[in-house]
Structure formats: C-alpha cells, structure tokens
C-alpha cells in the first residue's frame, strides 16, 4: 500500500513538473531577437496606442496558424518580406534591420509559438 502511494506521488510529481522541465530556454539568436522585437515591434504589436486607423495584430503563435493575417501562408519568407517591405499601414524596416536581425526576430517569433 505504501509502495503504491509512493508510486502515485512520483507520478503526480512528474505530471506537475513536466511542462516546466520542458520549457525551453532562449538561445542567443532568440535572445537577440527578443531585444530587437522589444525595440522595433512591441510598441505596435503589444502596446498599440488608441487612435490608430488599424490596430496591429498580436504576434504570439503567428506560425501556429496556416496563414498570416493578410492571408499568405505563414512561412519565414513571408514574415521576412512583411518586416522588410512593410504591409499596408505597417512601416517597412528595409534598411533599418539587417538580414541577421530579421532572422533573429523570426527565431524569437517561433519561440513565442
């Protein structure tokens, strides 16, 4: 009986801590992406002020859906294109972000999935 209880406790412990144990620490690329995201993206996509003609979409889980908000397939290339060229009222970051920086932001967006 004692052994059975012990086994149950172990199982409960595993179930309780499994998600935390699986939580991924951000790598260097994602960490840089997080800093760049906070600088360039967060002001609109997380904390958009009232009064904008169109409220920018939140980007958590953007790669979990088959399509981006504008309807194109949610691929790295599509997101890269939106970041660099802009889309509708979203400004282009062409010239302000280097290729490596865009890749870091995309890596961070994947980590927010």
């Amino acid at each position: 009986m004692l052994k059975q209880n012990l086994a149950r406790i172990c199982l409960m412990t595993m179930l309780l801590f499994f998600p935390t144990a699986c939580k991924k620490q951000l790598g260097q690329d994602e960490l840089q992406g997080a800093a760049l995201y906070r600088t360039h993206c967060s002001a609109c996509h997380d904390d958009a002020p009232e009064g904008l003609l169109k409220t920018p979409p939140r980007l958590e889980g953007i790669f979990r859906h088959p399509n981006l908000p504008d309807g194109v397939p949610a691929t790295d290339d599509a997101v890269r294109s939106v970041i660099l060229q802009g889309l509708r009222t979203m400004p282009a970051f062409d010239g302000r972000l280097q290729e490596q920086e865009v890749r870091s932001i995309i890596a961070y967006l994947h980590s927010k999935n």
């Binding site: 412990t13 960490l31 360039h40 002001a43 009222t89 062409d94 010239g95 920086e101």
Partner: protein
C-alpha cells in the same frame, strides 16, 4: 514437499523483486524529473540574488542622440555589442535616472548594457561620458525658424504620389492642412498616429461636400530618398482604404532631398537623420485661403474633430 515449495518461493521472490525494480525505476524517474524542473523556475519564483545571477553584462559605446526624461530613456547610436547585437540606433531605458541629468545629445558615452535573461528586458547602467557634445549642437537636429501665426506660406515645388509637380501656392483659395511624416516611421504615436488622424479628418471633411471643396490635405515626407512617389502612393492607399480618388483631396508629397532642410525649417520641424532612422518633431499647420498660417498643432494628441471644427468655422457654407 519442501522441494515443491522452493520453486514457488523463488517465483514469489522474483515477482517481488521485479515489482520493487519497477517501483524504484518510477521513483528515480520522478526524482530526475523533479531535478530537471528545478533549474527553470519562473522569474517570479526567483529570489533577488538568483535574478542578479541571470543578468548578463555587455559593454556599450555610442553617441547619445536624444534624451527622454519622462520615459527615463536615451536613444543611442551604438557600436556593435559583441555577442548581443550589431551596431544600430535604438532607445535604452536608463537604470539610474540621475544619470540623465549629466547627459546631453551628441555626447559620446560608454556604458554597461544589462540584459535580464529571465524576462528578456534590458537597460543601461554605469554611463560615462567619453566626449561631451560640441557646444551649440543638438545631435545634428535642424534648427528651424518656424512660420508664426499670420505668416505667409512661401511657395515650394514638390512631387506628389502620382509623380506630378505641385506648387504650394496652387492651393491658395483652399484651407490647407499640412503635416510631415515618413512611411518607415516605427513610432506608433508619431507618423502612424498623425496619418490615422489625417485619414479621419479626410473622411469627416469628405462627408460635407462644401467643406471638402474648400479644403485640402498634404502629408509631406521627411524621407524623400526612400519615399518615392510609388512608395507614397502605396502608403496613401492603405490609409485611403484603397480609394485612389481620395488623392484629389489628400496628397502625399516629397521634396528633392536637398530641399528638405529648408522646407522643414520653414514649417518649424526639427529632425535628425541617421542612416535610415529619422528622429523628428510632429507639427501640423492649418493655412487659410490667403496662404497665411491660421493655426498650428504640435504633437499628435489632437482630435480629428477638433481640427475639422476649426476648418468648418473658416469655410463659408459648411454645415458646422
């Protein structure tokens, strides 16, 4: 009998041993999972000393472009930060607010960038001024002599989103609302907000035929090198809900890059361009039908209806 019982006892012992091994495996696995869980607690679960251990320090060097006291931050054009990010221009929160008092735009500084890995936040600390800004400069900002109320708007030739030349003097006889933006502006409270406001002003004016006929809106770019007529047209259409006929009432203009400084000075704009980043003030001017400054609004906190009301009061026959 004894010889018959022995195999049973052996089998029983084997069974007990197997169950004990299974239980032990379960306990060990549970313990290992618990150990694996311990190194990744949430930021809220960390003690202060543990959090300090997760802060990475990076040396930072660069030039202060602007200081935002209300936000306790500075915008720095910084060199490469080895192991963290390449050189760029960006705002940083300053850990010690008193350090801001010792800084001026144009100062060359060294500092330590503190990156907290738990919540990915960062801020600068231990700021030292390596070389103070030269006296009388403000990081390259253009110091203008702005038009005052009642002043006449001088003429200038610009190009619109359809690549057609337009003279500012050609709008005489209309109430002219003018502002400055650039399409790549990433500050939501600056150009995106002003352009959103203009879109609403355009819609409100268009709802009154007499008011629409007596008014015109201009958004002039501060980034004429990037903002070609094609770029301005695409940008304008997004705010006109893809109705190009709206350009007849609201145009998006660019000057020749060499003419921008003079134009911006005339309108009282201050701006600072570093590569592809433009730091600028926000100003909107209402020019009356005689080409004189009727009213100005600084910043983007004004309401579209407020401006429409002012324009309506200056337009005979308008509904308001």
């Amino acid at each position: 009998m004894k010889s018959h019982e022995e195999p049973c006892s052996f089998q029983s012992a084997l069974d007990r041993s197997w169950r004990s091994t299974r239980l032990l495996t379960l306990i060990v696995t549970g313990f290992l999972m618990l150990c694996a869980a311990i190194p990744t607690p949430t930021a809220a679960q960390l003690t202060e000393s543990q959090q300090a251990a997760t802060v990475k320090r990076y040396p930072l060097r660069g030039k202060v472009l602007s200081i935002q006291l209300s936000k306790q931050q500075i915008t720095v054009q910084h060199e490469d930060i080895p192991g963290f990010m390449p050189g760029m221009t960006m705002p940083f929160h300053v850990k010690d607010a008193s350090a801001l008092k010792r800084l001026a735009p144009g100062d060359q500084i060294s500092a330590v960038l503190l990156v907290r890995t738990a919540d990915e936040s960062y801020e600068v600390d231990e700021i030292r001024v390596l070389r103070p800004a030269a006296a009388g400069t403000s990081g390259g900002a253009v110091q203008g002599h702005p038009l005052q109320l009642g002043d006449s708007l001088p003429d200038a030739v610009l190009t619109n989103q359809d690549n057609k030349s337009v003279h500012l003097s050609s709008y005489r006889g209309k109430l002219l609302l003018v502002t400055f933006i650039y399409t790549r502006c990433p500050m939501p409270t600056a150009c995106p907000m002003i352009t959103s406001h203009f879109a609403r002003v355009h819609a409100l004016l268009s709802a009154d035929a007499k008011l629409a006929a007596q008014s015109h809106l201009l958004s002039i770019t501060l980034d004429p090198t990037y903002d070609t007529p094609q770029v301005l047209r695409r940008f304008g259409l997004a705010y006109l809900h893809d109705h190009p006929e709206g350009f007849a009432h609201w145009e998006f203009l660019r000057s020749e890059p060499a003419e921008l400084q003079k134009l911006a000075s005339t309108f009282g704009l201050e701006y600072h361009q570093e590569d592809h980043q433009i730091l600028h003030t926000v100003r909107t001017l209402l020019i009356d039908k005689n080409g004189r400054v009727l009213r100005t609004w600084d910043g983007s906190s004004w309401k579209p209806q407020e401006i429409v009301d002012v324009m309506a009061s200056a337009a005979p026959g308008a509904k308001r």
